[in-house]
Structures are given as C-alpha cells and as structure tokens.
C-alpha cells in the first residue's frame, strides 16, 4: 500500500478511537501511574504476594512475583499489560536488555550490578554457538531484525 493513504487512514482511525475513548463511560479498574511510594519496596526484586493477596485484587499477583528467574520468565507478564511494569520501571530499564540498536551487552553495561541475572554473562561468544543451535527461537525475539542483528553480521553475514 502506498504510504500516504495508509498514514492518512491510520490518523483517521486514531482520531475516531480517541473520540470513542473520550465519550464511553467506563467504570473499569484503573492502575495507578506509579506504584505507591509509601509501600517502600526497597531495591531488591519484589515478591508481590508478600504484600498483595494472590486473588481478589486487581491482578493475578503471583504472575508478577520477581523470582530469581524473573529476568528470563517475564514475557507473558509483560505482554499482557506493560502498564503494570511501568508503575515501577521506566522503558530505559527494559532497554538494557531490549533495544533496537544498543551496542553494549547488558552484562557489560551493568557489569557491577552482579545481583542481576542479565543474559549473556561472561564470554557469550563461545556459549552462544551451543545455545543458538539448541534454542534459536529464544534468540529471535531480541535479534530477529536487521538492526538488532548488526553485531551478528560480521560472522553470520
């Protein structure tokens, strides 16, 4: 499709939805913009169910518990509603590991934050051959476009 009409129709759609959004009356639940600061989470990975009931509240809180493996197991929790993440994290936090066009490996950028289980710790060039052969699907999520695979190009062409 040529670009102009496409952009134009998108714009129309947006304005229409905006109108609808502003006119429909909604009694639904609204997340706070920020997790209440008075909750005083500390700087450690939070276990939501320490303070929230698993059921009956606005979320299935157990799904958001930041267990020791959360750094590699948050895909469903995040894909469902990022506004939950946004209560406590800014997008720049996610960009450490997820970015279209970041050069430094997460574990290098935050090298001294050893408590974080960032992916690709240590020498990953060697290990990646094995991980990549066994589970290429898991790499595609972050390296599956030309920009995010630029560091791969010298060897993979």
């Amino acid at each position: 499709m040529p670009r102009r009409p496409l952009l134009f129709s998108l714009l129309l759609l947006f304005s229409f939805l905006l109108l609808v959004a502003c006119s429909v009356h909604d009694q639904g639940y609204s997340l706070p913009a920020q997790h209440p600061p008075e909750a005083d989470l500390g700087r450690n990975r939070p276990t939501c169910t320490d303070c929230h009931e698993e059921r009956g509240g606005p979320l299935a809180f157990a799904d958001f518990n930041h267990t020791a493996y959360f750094a590699e197991s948050h895909r469903n929790a995040a894909g469902r509603n990022v506004q939950v993440c946004n209560m406590c994290h800014q997008p720049s936090f996610c960009n450490t590991c997820h970015a279209t066009g970041i050069e430094l490996k997460p574990s290098v950028k935050n090298q001294s934050d050893t408590y974080s289980r960032t992916p690709h710790h240590g020498d990953y060039l060697s290990r990646h051959r094995i991980d990549g052969r066994i589970d290429p699907g898991s790499c595609f999520r972050c390296h599956g476009n030309p920009k995010a695979a630029r560091t791969c190009a010298p060897c993979h062409g």
């Binding site: 299935a60 518990n65 894909g79 509603n81 997008p91 066009g101 020498d123």
Partner: protein, 430 residues
Amino acid sequence: MNSPCGKLVRRFGFLCGVCGLLLSAPTVAGAMEVRLNSQTLLLFMQRNTSTSADASVIPLYEYLQADIGARSTRGLSFHFYGWAREDLNDSDYYKDNPDGELLYGYLNYSRPFNNLNLRLGRQYVIGGLANNSIDGLSLQTDLGPDFVLSIYGGLPVAFDTTAGRSGDSIFGGRLVWHSDSLHEVGLSYQKTSNDGSTEDQRLGLDLTLALPAGVNLSGRSTYNLESDGFGENFYEARFALSDFNFRTFFENYTYADYFAPGKQTPNPFYVLNRGGEAQTNFGGDVVWRMSSDWEFGAKTKFYTYDVNSSSAAYYSGLITWHGQDLTQIGGEVGTMQGDAADNKYILSRAFFYWDRPAGLPLAFISGDLLYAAYDQPIYGQDNSFFASLGAGQRFLDDRLELKLSGDYSSDPYFDSDLRTMLVANYRFDY
C-alpha cells in the same frame, strides 16, 4: 574541528543540545517536574582492528535519559533516552557500527479516565505479539468495562538501516476482553513493510486464566499470515504455594513461520527458516524463599525437534543469600546436555554484592566469577573463565555515583583479556 576534542563535541553535541533544551524547559513550563539521568561509561580494552592487532580501544559512551512532566500523576509528559559513543583512541574497531542511537523520544498523554494513553514519537510498543520500536503514534484505551484496545502505527525503527525509510511501515493493535483482570483474552495483529513490500504479517491470540487452586495459566499463539502457519505457541502455568513459586511451560516453534520469511530476516535466522524444522520445548522452574535470607532455585528445560533427531536438556540450580539492602552472595551451576558432543557444556557462576560495606568508604563492592567447560573444544580450548571486580561510591546526596570495575576473561576467543570500565551516573531532579 578534527581534533579528538572537536569530534567529541560534535558527537555528543546532539545529546548536549537536548540536555540544554531540557534544562531550560522548567523556566518555560513553570512547575513542571524534570528528571535527567546521565550515565557515562569509559572502557579500556585491547582488540584486533583491521589495521593492527591488540590496538587500544577506548570507547566513551554517554547514555542520557530525560523525563519531563509529572510521573506520579497522569497528564502530559515527555520522555527521552539515547546514547552516543566515541572511541578516544580513534581506532577503526567500530567502523561498521553507528556511533549512537535514539532509543526513545516521545510525548505521552494519559489520564485515569478510561485508562487513556496516547504516545507520539519514537517508542517501544509491547503487548500481545508486539515488541517493537516504532516512530509513530500509539493509543490505548478502555472500551467500556470489558474491553481494552490498543493500536499503533508508524515507521519501524528496525528497518531504518535498510535502503532508507520510504515504503517502510508498521501498524497493528490488540483488543482485549476481560471479565475481571484475572481472566483475559487478547487478539493482536501486526503488519510490517520494508521498502514497499510486506515483510511480515501476524495474528496473535493471548490468554490469561485464573484456574482453581491458585494456578494461573497464560500463553500466546501466533499465526503467520504470510506463510500461513502457526509460528509460535507458548503456554505457562504459575502458582505460589507458601514460600514456593512454581512455573511450568510448554513452547513450540515452527521455524518457517516463526522466523519471519521476509527478505529482511537477518542471519542466522533466515537460513534456519529454510530447513523445515520445528522445535518443542518444555520445562519449569521453582524458587523457594526459605527465609528472608535464603533463596533456592532450580530450573530444567527440555528441547526436542521434528527433523533433527538429537534432543537436549538444560538443568540448573541456584542459591542466594540476602543481607542488608542489596547485599547478596550467590552461586549457580547449570549444564546443557545436548545429544551431540558439541552441544554440551557446564556453566557455573558465583557472585557477591556488598552494599555499603562496613568500615569502608564505599557504596558497594561487587564481584563475579564465571566458569564454563565445553565437552568439545572451541578453537582448541575447552573452557572459558571470566572474573570481574567492581566498587562504587556516591557523592552529592547520592546524585552522583562513580563506579570502577575490572574484568578478566580467558576463553576460546581471547587468550587473556583485561577490560576496565569507569562509570559515572548522574541524576538531576528539579
């Protein structure tokens, strides 16, 4: 302006400009909240470049983040994050890489009423099958108490390197139905085009169900409309039982449909999508927080394939001791056991982070040790060793943090590699 200094000014000029603009913003905008965050990294290392072996490479990185507007309440705000790099030694190590990137820069408007959220500019869209960086517009809103709609459109940032941006587009959206927030079904769609031709077009179905006995089931299936097939099915169940958190999952990928068959799919994925392969993995993890001090975890993942007959399994266990604040000592041992000899390794890691070490004028000391052993040598070496030691201190009411770390690595790629890094984090609030 060809001196290193002049270059620096030029390279970081853009970021400085943004900085200046932002600093003058409060006078313009009155009582608006402004937060700046600058992270400056200086690395020293030796790398082979096209002109010399073991050349000193001294990249200076600047990561700048700015947020203007209220954070705790809703309304209008602006968010910016980007980085730039300059090699102070002028080696050609980075000659094929860009010297910086705008990661995001968008205006955000939100209000509690209808959970309306509107974003304009470079941003990440996440939700359902979307996990993309776009230059464009996105909108999320409730449609009555039972539905949530989000749509977005613009230019895909991922393709801005391929033959310019004309003819590039990305658009999509997600419609969610929820009876309450514990049960959800979402339908998402995305189409990307590069230089006028369709790259990728997918449909996604995601769901979240609160089952009896505290079990939460969630997952997603993605259908590739270009190649006509399910690329991905991923489902997991989680539940918490006293101090235990359990998770089991099942996933399945059909390469020809998952690794987008578009022309811009980079290697090695483009090659992989030709082989008619499909992969099915399952496994789980459990984490036991025995007390506020001790945390134990175990994880397994099994891999099987349709075409390739060799399967694989990964097992790992970890222990962490938590002290005051972020103080931690931890260890982890894992092993990848593929049927093929070149698919086996053992990986072990030990780390500590000592927050506000008693008696020392430091904010923290941290250390990391990693050892990997491969069944089959890679370039004649069957192991990798990595060690890192770091320390930091904070100044100016904790607004400025300085960190120094040194990393050593001996592995198949580097006989003996030493890298040092100096980091300055500066936080600025109006």
